[in-house]
């Protein structure tokens, strides 16, 4: 099945998400769709999957123009979408998820799970996916969940598969296995659209590539014709240097030390098991790992958000295991939280209010029980200038800023004061390239000023670019430690450690 996309445009309020897009999707071929966050990739694919209706333009399938009134139409036309954020019901079983919407039924609308199970097993076998059909989704690792998404699409006998940032949550080894499945599907005659912002993936898997920038197609071609630098320039619109240009670190005294730290969750399950790590002054330490392997809990243990059940946390030689969030904050621990909208800021508050979110009580802004708002506002304005937060006014609601500016606002709040340790969790998630560069520079500057920096990220590239030393976490443990002084850490070895293959390399 071939699809021609002709002149698709889609606008959300003031944002032109897609403009005049032409694209060809062909059977037996992997089309790489490259673009940075917010370039309009997801919008385009949501148009194709019937979730959004385009403002103008045509979708032509095998020579006939079609229009989709909803996802149902697109599915019926043979288009299947695997979303970046899995569209699986966690408390349903694999079979229930796969059949949802196209359920085999008997009399009285009776759900025929046995028939469904047999069908699912058949697809499972023919592509060698090995998915347990009666397991609940929430009990499965993300790599398997992704296969469930593909099963879902194949169960609906899709001929076109759209894969939206499919590798974001996988370890390098899982990525390899996943590419194997993609190739098998392509060889079976399926058309595949592979959406990503990772250049090396395009070079590895795509047969053709289209680059999207600010809602427009800015380049088409065969990947082998381009270098990584060409693709990067097309994607961003200007030459980009992806390596930060790190100078050698001069680590000093240990600032943060964790000794055998363990943490249990409410269900008394271990989330951290005997974690020991050290972060010294003047170095950046990265924590790599697939999301959900204890990184969140690690940050909570360091910042005081969760109390640990065993072990010791030391800061500048002082035992802080039992101190509160605020005490640690005062001691000079800065915390850039992993999800700014969930915990880093209050969207309904002004920029000024957000700038004092976690220090409104200290003597710089408060007098007794009262907050001195005019002082807070002046400080906020100064921080906005210093950290390039682009807002017309500090009285503007923070929710109306762009993702990059929101993140810079959080970074500004955390770094504008005197800090000794920076804990940055997913510091550049969902922000534009310009802001990524700026935030990375700020973190480097922090290191160069002699502070300790701990970066937790599920983007392995970010970890490799910034860190002087790398810890890898898997299922609540540190499985490996790597030296990365001159960016020498072995990507493959890190990948194995992320997957829990225990092989500690001498630092």
């Amino acid at each position: 099945m071939n699809i021609e996309i002709r002149g698709i445009s889609k606008r959300f309020g003031p944002v032109q998400a897609n403009q005049d897009i032409d694209l060809d999707i062909r059977a037996g071929e992997v089309l790489g769709l490259l673009g940075e966050n917010g370039a309009g990739k997801s919008t385009l694919m949501n148009v194709l999957s019937g979730l959004y209706r385009p403002d103008s333009g045509d979708i032509i399938i095998d020579g006939t123009a079609v229009s989709f009134d909803g996802p149902g139409d697109s599915i019926a036309a043979g288009i299947g979408m695997v979303h970046q954020h899995f569209m699986l019901v966690p408390v349903f079983s694999v079979v229930e998820n796969v059949i949802l919407g196209v359920e085999p039924t008997g009399a009285a609308d009776y759900l025929d799970l046995d028939a469904a199970r047999a069908q699912v097993q058949q697809i499972n076998d023919s592509y060698g996916m090995e998915v347990p059909s009666d397991a609940l989704i929430e009990d499965l690792p993300v790599g398997i969940q992704q296969r469930v998404e593909i099963l879902k699409v194949l169960f609906r006998s899709a001929d076109v598969l759209i894969l939206d940032e499919p590798t974001a949550v996988l370890t390098p080894q899982e990525v390899e296995a996943f590419f194997g499945i993609v190739r098998a599907l392509r060889d079976a005659g399926k058309a595949i659209v592979f959406i990503t912002h990772k250049l090396h993936e395009i070079l590895e898997i795509a047969d053709r590539v289209s680059v999207l920038r600010q809602g427009r197609i800015v380049g088409n071609g065969v990947p082998s014709e381009f270098s990584e630098a060409d693709l990067a320039e097309m994607m961003v619109g200007r030459p980009v240097s992806f390596s930060v240009g790190r100078e050698a670190a001069t680590p000093g005294q240990p600032v943060l030390e964790l000794a055998d730290v363990s943490l249990l969750d409410a269900g008394l399950e271990a989330r951290l098991q005997s974690i020991s790590m050290t972060v010294r002054a003047g170095e950046i330490v990265g924590v790599a790992g697939v999301q959900g392997n204890g990184q969140t809990e690690l940050v909570e243990a360091i910042t005081g958000l969760a109390s640990v059940n065993a072990g010791r946390v030391t800061f500048n030689g002082i035992d802080i295991t039992a101190t509160s969030v605020r005490q640690r904050h005062r001691m000079g621990i800065a915390h850039i939280p992993e999800d700014r909208l969930k915990s880093g800021m209050v969207a309904g508050f002004t920029v000024a209010e957000n700038m004092v979110l976690n220090r409104y009580y200290d003597e710089r802004v408060a007098r007794g029980v009262v907050i001195d708002w005019s002082r807070a506002e002046e400080q906020a304005a100064a921080a906005c200038l210093k950290f390039d937060v682009r807002t017309p006014s500090v009285f503007l609601g923070a929710g109306s800023l762009s993702g990059g500016n929101q993140q810079k606002m959080v970074v500004a709040r955390e770094l504008e004061r005197d800090v000794r340790l920076v804990v940055a969790s997913q510091p550049t998630r969902g922000v534009d390239v310009g802001s990524i560069e700026f935030i990375h520079q700020q973190l480097m500057a922090c290191r160069d000023a002699g502070n300790a920096v701990l970066i937790i990220s599920s983007e392995l590239d970010e970890i490799l670019d910034l860190s002087d030393r790398i810890y890898v976490m898997f299922e609540g443990r540190v499985t490996a430690e790597f030296d990365n002084q001159d960016s020498c850490a072995d990507r493959n070895a890190i990948g194995l450690a992320m997957a829990g293959v225990n092989r500690t390399e001498a630092a």
């Binding site: 005081g304 958000l305 509160s324 969030v325 605020r326 904050h329 915390h335 939280p337 999800d339 969930k342 915990s343 880093g344 800021m345 209050v346 969207a347 309904g348 508050f349 002004t350 209010e353 979110l357 976690n358 409104y360 009580y361 408060a366 029980v369 009262v370 907050i371 708002w373 005019s374 002082r375 506002e377 002046e378 906020a380 304005a381 100064a382 906005c384 200038l385 807002t391 017309p392 006014s393 500090v394 009285f395 503007l396």
Partner: protein, 398 residues
């Protein structure tokens, strides 16, 4: 959010960085310049409540028609409503008197709202607070008014606070949703009131029905307008109410505690991140809400009723939910909404007398107002021309 524009910014800013580029100062000033409230916002804040009231009255009239009230009577009832709420000195006094407990209980609900809690228990908190005030008001004999009255009110406040804090503690420790627990505490308080009013010490001597002894004169809130007409019931609670509005405003928008409440209400994750103790915040917010509702019950007993009787709160605690919603949980908004509802209450009584339409009509109108205020999209769809983004050429200033 209201905040005074910081016009003192340039002077207050210490010239810490003398070597900054010349335009830094002007960019700073631009960032600090007070934003002009967009006309659209103003329109929403003012127009939507007005249209909501209008629509509610229209639908109220339709319901009256449906229950075969003659058109003339409907007209008469609206006239009576206006007359009974604003038409005379007595009407104004009644309106203000009725709004006092509504505003105070509404402030409690609004404050809890800002902290992310839905306190449906204002009615029950009024019951226990009012009853405690009644008991204090007839128990302490021989105290001068200057001591007795504040003491009685304070006891009512404290008991209301403790009663509301039960729901807060349950929420903080077990996660039990405050909506269900406060509703149950309401129902429990009604039974408790019925029981206590029959107890020998509390029940009025020689009475078989549940009614408390009368409040002593030293614990009565003095009436304010008796120099004009001895029948005017407006009492000192008016000033307590205004003070409460100011204090709650200060608490929410100036104090550290209030900021912690607002963070907790807007984004619990951010509150946790900022080191705000969630449990303590919940208990404190509920306790303050309960204190305000308790005070509403207290002023009602010591200023209007003079004793506690079964159902003496008369659903004011539930109407206060509507007041808080209509006032958008802002103290000033709650004051205005409370005055409106006080007027409806006073006008409704007149309506019942003059036109023979049941005062329950007022509850319907109040509920309708809230439905429309809570669904601004609905109003915008019903009156599209008023919300079209046009260039306003003069006029239309509220």
């Amino acid at each position: 959010m209201t905040r005074a524009p910081s016009d003192t910014a340039p002077d207050a800013a210490p010239d810490a960085a003398p070597d900054t580029a010349p335009d830094t100062d002007s960019r700073l000033r631009a960032l600090l310049a007070p934003t002009i409230a967009t006309r659209g916002d103003l329109r929403e804040v003012v127009l939507i409540p007005l249209l909501a009231v209008f629509l509610a009255l229209v639908i109220g009239a339709l319901i009256m028609m449906a229950t075969s009230v003659a058109p003339a009577t409907i007209l008469k009832s609206f006239v009576a409503m206006a007359d009974g709420s604003l038409g005379s000195m007595n009407a104004i006094s009644e309106t203000l008197t009725a709004s006092i407990p509504l505003v105070m209980a509404g402030l409690g609900i609004g404050l809890a709202f800002r902290a992310g809690l839905f306190n449906i228990g204002a009615e029950g908190q009024m019951v226990v607070g009012g009853l405690a005030t009644a008991i204090a008001a007839f128990s302490f004999t021989g105290l001068p008014m200057i001591l007795h009255l504040p003491l009685a009110l304070l006891i009512g406040m404290s008991v209301g606070a403790v009663y509301a804090a039960i729901a807060g503690v349950l929420r903080a420790t077990t996660g039990a949703h405050e909506v269900i627990s406060t509703i149950m505490l309401n129902l429990i308080s009604f039974r408790l009131l019925d029981y206590l009013l029959r107890q020998p010490y509390i029940q009025k001597e020689g009475r078989a029905d549940p009614i408390s002894r009368a409040v002593l004169e030293t614990a009565e809130l003095p009436r304010l307008l008796t120099f004009l007409d001895p029948n005017l019931r407006l009492h000192l609670g008016l000033f307590i109410m205004l003070a409460a509005v100011a204090i709650v405003w200060w608490l929410l928008f100036r104090s550290k505690l209030g900021f912690a409440f607002r963070i907790s209400g807007e984004n619990p994750g951010a509150a946790r991140y900022a080191g705000i103790r969630a449990g303590l915040t919940v208990v404190l917010a509920m306790a303050i809400a309960g204190a305000l509702a308790g005070l509403a019950g207290a002023t009602q007993v010591s200023g209007v009723l003079g004793r506690a009787t079964p159902g003496f709160t008369a659903g004011i605690g539930f109407d206060a939910i509507a007041v808080a919603l209509l006032g958008r949980s802002h103290p000033v908004g709650i004051l205005l909404a409370g005055l409106l509802f006080g007027a409806l209450e006073a006008g409704g009584r007149q309506m019942q007398v003059d036109a023979g339409v049941s005062i329950d009509m007022i509850s319907i109108i109040q509920a309708l107002i809230i439905i429309f205020v809570a669904a601004p999209l609905l109003i915008k769809r019903l009156f599209p021309p008023l919300f079209r983004n046009r260039v306003t050429a003069g006029g239309g200033h509220e």
